[in-house]
Symmetry: C2
Subunit: 256 residues, 2 copies
């Protein structure tokens, strides 16, 4: 899945033969260099980066300094190492999504899959608040995708997803099959890699439409999860709101 042949990939790191000191420690400079290559899309998730010794030579620093920089990025989960093979750029890990905590409250049953089926797809001028969250002009053409998530035959949540039409033209077309993991399609068909996302969790009373879709009474508590999804260059490509049955959601955390 490398974007470039070996030589080119190494060239990404030779642009600045000697790193300038600006108060930053050397390993920090190396870190930031790699971070930038990822954020600008010159390295994409899954890519193999040059070996530690190659990097050390290319950047004119000692191997230990490169190792420290990479170790820090590994702790941040931006990279991962595989002994004997090399160091790779991490794929975005939606296992960390709060979404994942739907349907877990039950019998400690891990890895329950939520099936999603599209219930609406269309292209339309975006509502004001959605456009604002997307950072596009009000009234811009958006693609709207609505999906119902179920476990077995029990509906459990509804997803309301909005994309700028310029990013995913034609996605509203019914002929395109939408997989459960939408972002794989977006990468394949439109070459748009999803790099990171922000999620906000709250709870609310179910609105009439959502309540009907997941088979609960209006006003019953639902968990509300708002997601903002980013591609290269910190561009927002999706805003999504998921509303799910509160009785099928529980989020667990450790302190510290």
């Amino acid at each position: 899945m490398e974007t470039a042949p070996e030589a080119d990939r190494l060239n990404l790191f030779t642009s600045t033969p000697l790193e300038a000191i600006k108060g930053k420690p050397l390993y920090r400079v190396v870190e930031d260099h790699i971070r930038t290559l990822i954020n600008t899309g010159r390295l994409v998730p899954g890519d193999l980066i040059p070996s530690e010794s190659q990097l050390a030579k290319a950047l004119g620093v000692s191997p230990g300094t490169v190792k420290k920089a990479i170790t820090n990025l590994v702790w941040e989960r931006l990279l991962f190492r595989h002994q004997g093979k090399g160091t790779y750029v991490s794929r975005i890990d939606f296992e960390k999504s709060l979404f994942r905590f739907f349907s877990y409250g039950d019998a400690e049953g891990r890895s329950i899959r939520i099936q999603k089926t599209a219930t609406a797809r269309r292209r339309q001028p975006g509502p004001k608040d959605i456009c604002r969250r997307l950072g596009v002009a009000e009234g811009s053409e958006l693609v709207y995708i609505e999906r119902l998530g179920s476990i077995g035959d029990q509906p459990i949540l509804v997803e309301y997803s909005w994309w700028p039409a310029t990013v995913v033209p034609g996605l509203e077309n019914e002929n395109i099959h939408i997989p459960d993991f939408l972002y794989a399609l977006v990468l394949d068909q439109y070459g748009v890699p999803i790099l990171r996302a922000q999620e906000t969790l709250t709870a609310d009373a179910a609105d009439a439409k959502t309540a009907k879709m997941i088979g609960i009474a209006e006003g019953t508590p639902v968990v509300v999860l708002k997601r903002t999804t980013y591609t290269t260059g910190d561009r927002i490509v999706e805003v999504r709101t998921t509303k799910g049955r509160a009785d099928r959601f529980s989020y667990k955390t450790e302190i510290p």
Copy 2:
């Protein structure tokens, strides 16, 4: 806040002059050694640990190995370093608590303080489910503390907290002033350090009692936060349920 004079503290690390190799890398052995000292209470939060060079000599390994072990524990936030002073055991960081995300949805106003006032305190045989969560025999004597949390004069959440009476004898006494941060009192008065906690977040419809206390209608959504609190030796010392207004709660996260 060190528990022991300098010599004693260093002695904690000389018990095994040479570390045995059991498939584990050396730095891992050092890590586990420090972790054990903390989990057993021989090192407590706030303690200064011996310097890296002292540790290296005491354990018979190179300074680099000690540094790597400590660096890992710092990344895990179990220790923190202060250049020129030394390395300390971290205090438990309730800034990471989900509790902290109450009342933040508003105007991005950080550091809003939630005042807590005790509304009930008594000693009584524990209900079955509480005893089970605490891991004590059913019907054991427990201390029950109920507190109302408010911002200004607006009530926002209720806390229901249960402790084994053997751990905090007399805490039900009305003469003892309970500070907002209860665990400080527990450490001072009973010498029980709080080392870690687990929290689980869900949402539910408000029960009659809670609804009345925080001034909402019964059945309105509330956020439910269950906490299990641990002291040394992984002993559970408290189970707590906090119910708060859903419209004053929002939890934000980043992926990855």
